[in-house]
């Protein structure tokens, strides 16, 4: 786990450094282009968009589309904007991410430090579960939720995300804990610490980097999910993506592209924020285990 966090010692000449920077900047443009299109067009009046020129800067700058997307755009019968749905998403995403991370950590802990006959098969089963197409589970899942009485509830939705997120969080934590010295666990056992004490006092305090990776991954996936959010929510718990979809996909009527773009960026802000804030720990977290072994 003691990895060298610095850049490579490979040396490059001035000429190749110029080429490297040029390439890096070109790719920055590639990655930023769609965001540029969205931002620029979210700051134009609709008439400018309809007049064409999706790449050009606004002649008249306006934040009206943003205000509209946030609080007055038509989402359903009422023109509420995305505001109320934002909270719905938070209420669902935060517990789902938290539980799935903790559960993944526990699973990884058991699978690496409390190994038993057949544990690899169980891990294989969990891992393969990541690959199931979500469209396939929609109907049986709805049925199960109905049977246990969680249909159309926030806990139900959290549960669904938990089930289909568990594979990846277990994968991350298992690979990370595999690098974690087993001797520490043994020392703690001899010191008299039990299963959960070791987890809480020894493993968790050292799990920061991988927890960041896991949280980023789960947060992104759950926040951006549309299918489950639309199918398993209720009228009062529809998440942000469903609202955004309603904003953008309205079948007939004028398409207010500027408002759509503003709403889209708005819906993406929390995930963007997570990436920007936690991004620096992300590579470190990946480094500390998940891409090794």
């Amino acid at each position: 786990m003691s990895s060298n966090a610095t850049a490579t010692v490979v040396r490059t000449g001035a000429g190749s450094r110029f080429v490297i920077y040029t390439l890096l900047i070109l790719f920055c443009l590639y990655y930023l282009l769609p965001l540029y299109v969205m931002v620029v067009n979210s700051l134009k009046p609709l008439s400018e968009i309809q007049a064409g020129g999706m790449m050009s800067l606004p002649e008249e700058w306006t934040v009206a589309p943003w205000a509209s997307a946030w609080s007055t755009a038509q989402i359903g019968v009422e023109a509420t904007g995305l505001k109320p749905f934002f909270w719905n998403s938070i209420v669902m995403v935060v517990p789902a991410v938290a539980i799935s991370t903790v559960l993944g950590a526990l699973n990884g802990y058991v699978l690496t430090k409390w190994r038993f006959r057949g544990d690899t098969i169980i891990f294989g089963l969990l891992l393969f579960g990541c690959f199931i197409p979500f469209q396939m589970v929609l109907i049986p899942m709805a049925r199960m939720l109905g049977i246990v009485g969680l249909a159309g509830t926030v806990p139900g939705l959290i549960f669904v995300h938990l089930v289909y997120g568990i594979g990846f969080s277990t994968l991350y934590f298992r690979n990370y804990y595999q690098q974690f010295p087993t001797e520490l666990v043994r020392a703690a056992m001899i010191d008299g610490a039990g299963f959960f004490t070791i987890f809480r006092r020894i493993m968790l305090p050292s799990s920061g980097p991988i927890a960041v990776v896991c949280v980023i991954w789960q947060f992104t996936n759950i926040w951006n999910d549309f299918l489950f959010g639309a199918s398993f929510s209720d009228f009062d718990s529809q998440p942000m993506t469903v609202a955004l979809n309603n904003l953008v996909q309205s079948s007939t009527g004028v398409k207010e592209y500027n408002v759509h773009f503003a709403g889209a960026i708005m819906a993406a802000l929390p995930t963007l924020l997570v990436y920007i804030v936690a991004g620096r720990y992300f590579v470190r977290g990946l480094m500390a285990g998940s891409v090794k072994g």
Partner: protein, 370 residues
């Protein structure tokens, strides 16, 4: 019944038996070293004593109480790991008392114990640091402190010095020895370093291939190795082992072996060892380097020193001694000469061989013949 009894213990992973039937019994206050090359089963045995691995068959008892099924925390043992296994998120003080905390010892007592241990190991100034900020030797001390504070029945050490540099290793070795002499605790210590084994232990179990090859005091192990493996593994440079044949001359058993150039050396055994009955038998003769010296360096108390002219192949001055290499029975043989002896490679030189110290092995079974 001893303080720590290992009775017929075995360990298997599936069909693979990594530890064969093992019986070891030591008394309170003994320092048992399990020594052997990697993969010999020594760490497995230690983990079984600790309760970190289950026993497949047999029994391990501490103070007469069977430990089967008793979890590590309830065995009243403490362990020092090779990597020290210090909890990275806790400072030194917390590391030391973690075990006490887990056993429900109240905080004032814990703090008192921590102070005492820190004082004993001279690490008081480190108590607030995190393990990551410590040097190797300091970590080693903290790891020991963590074990000491528990006042266990048995201390278990798993190659505790192998991550230290050579100088520090020697210092810590001495320190452990002192500590043992002072505290008189029972210790089981695993190492692959035979010098550590010889210097520290009161008893050594030499292990190889999942078997205990020999269990005995350091002197027994050194002087009377039970077989060729033990002979070769313990001591440095290791014991010379070369083929010879037993003959009887004038009613006295001798070993005959070939020197470089085809000359035959005849080496009489000490009186009364009874090798006469093995007349004509092919053997492997074992001689420590210190039993092969220059003429003046030979042991004056020895009954049977014999001088042989032999061809010197290499000399290796080592400061206090010079190691001189020749061949006997087609094998390289190293002798330990005094440093001021003028001996050159290529010349023929008299080697004084102390046959009192000779050990004899069966070439087939590799066991010692007595």
């Amino acid at each position: 019944m001893g303080f720590l009894d290992i009775k017929n213990a075995t360990k298997s992973y599936g069909a693979v038996k990594v530890l064969h039937e093992t019986d070891i019994s030591i008394e309170e206050g003994e320092f048992l070293v399990l020594v052997g090359p990697s993969g010999c089963g020594k760490s497995t045995l230690l983990n079984m004593i600790a309760g970190l691995e289950n026993i497949t068959t047999g029994d391990i008892a501490i103070k007469g109480r069977s430990m089967n099924g008793v979890r590590p925390a309830d065995r009243n043992i403490a362990m020092v790991f090779q990597s020290y296994a210090l909890y990275p998120n806790m400072n030194v003080g917390q590391n030391i008392v973690f075990g006490l905390e887990m056993h429900g010892v109240p905080k004032p007592e814990r703090d008192k114990a921590m102070k005492e241990v820190a004082e004993l190991l001279q690490i008081e100034h480190l108590l607030d640091r995190k393990p990551g900020q410590l040097s190797g030797g300091q970590r080693q001390r903290v790891a020991m402190g963590r074990a000491l504070v528990r006042d266990p029945d048995v201390f278990l050490f798993d190659e505790p010095l192998s991550n230290l540099d050579a100088k520090l290793r020697v210092d810590m070795r001495t320190e452990i020895k002192k500590l043992h002499q002072k505290l008189k605790t029972t210790i089981v210590y695993v190492t692959h370093d035979q010098i550590e084994a010889l210097t520290l232990s009161t008893r050594i179990a030499v292990m190889y291939g999942g078997h205990v090859q020999q269990l005995g005091t350091p002197k027994e192990i050194y002087d009377n190795p039970a077989n060729m493996f033990v002979a070769g593994f313990m001591g440095s440079p290791s014991m010379n082992l070369f083929p010879a044949t037993i003959a009887v001359e004038n009613g006295r058993a001798v070993a005959r072996t070939k020197l470089v150039g085809g000359a035959e050396a005849t080496l009489p055994f000490a009186e009364g060892r009874g090798f006469e009955r093995h007349e004509g038998r092919d053997i492997v003769l074992g001689l420590r380097p210190e039993a092969i010296t220059d003429r003046d360096g030979a042991d004056r108390n020895s009954q049977s020193v014999h001088v042989v002219e032999a061809h010197v192949e290499v000399t290796e001055p080592a400061g206090s001694d010079t190691f001189v290499v020749t061949q006997m029975g087609g094998k390289e043989v190293t002798g330990r000469f005094r440093a001021d002896v003028d001996v050159q490679a290529g010349q023929s030189f008299p080697f004084a061989i102390n046959m009192d110290k000779a050990v004899v092995f069966d070439p087939e079974t590799e066991a010692r013949i007595s």
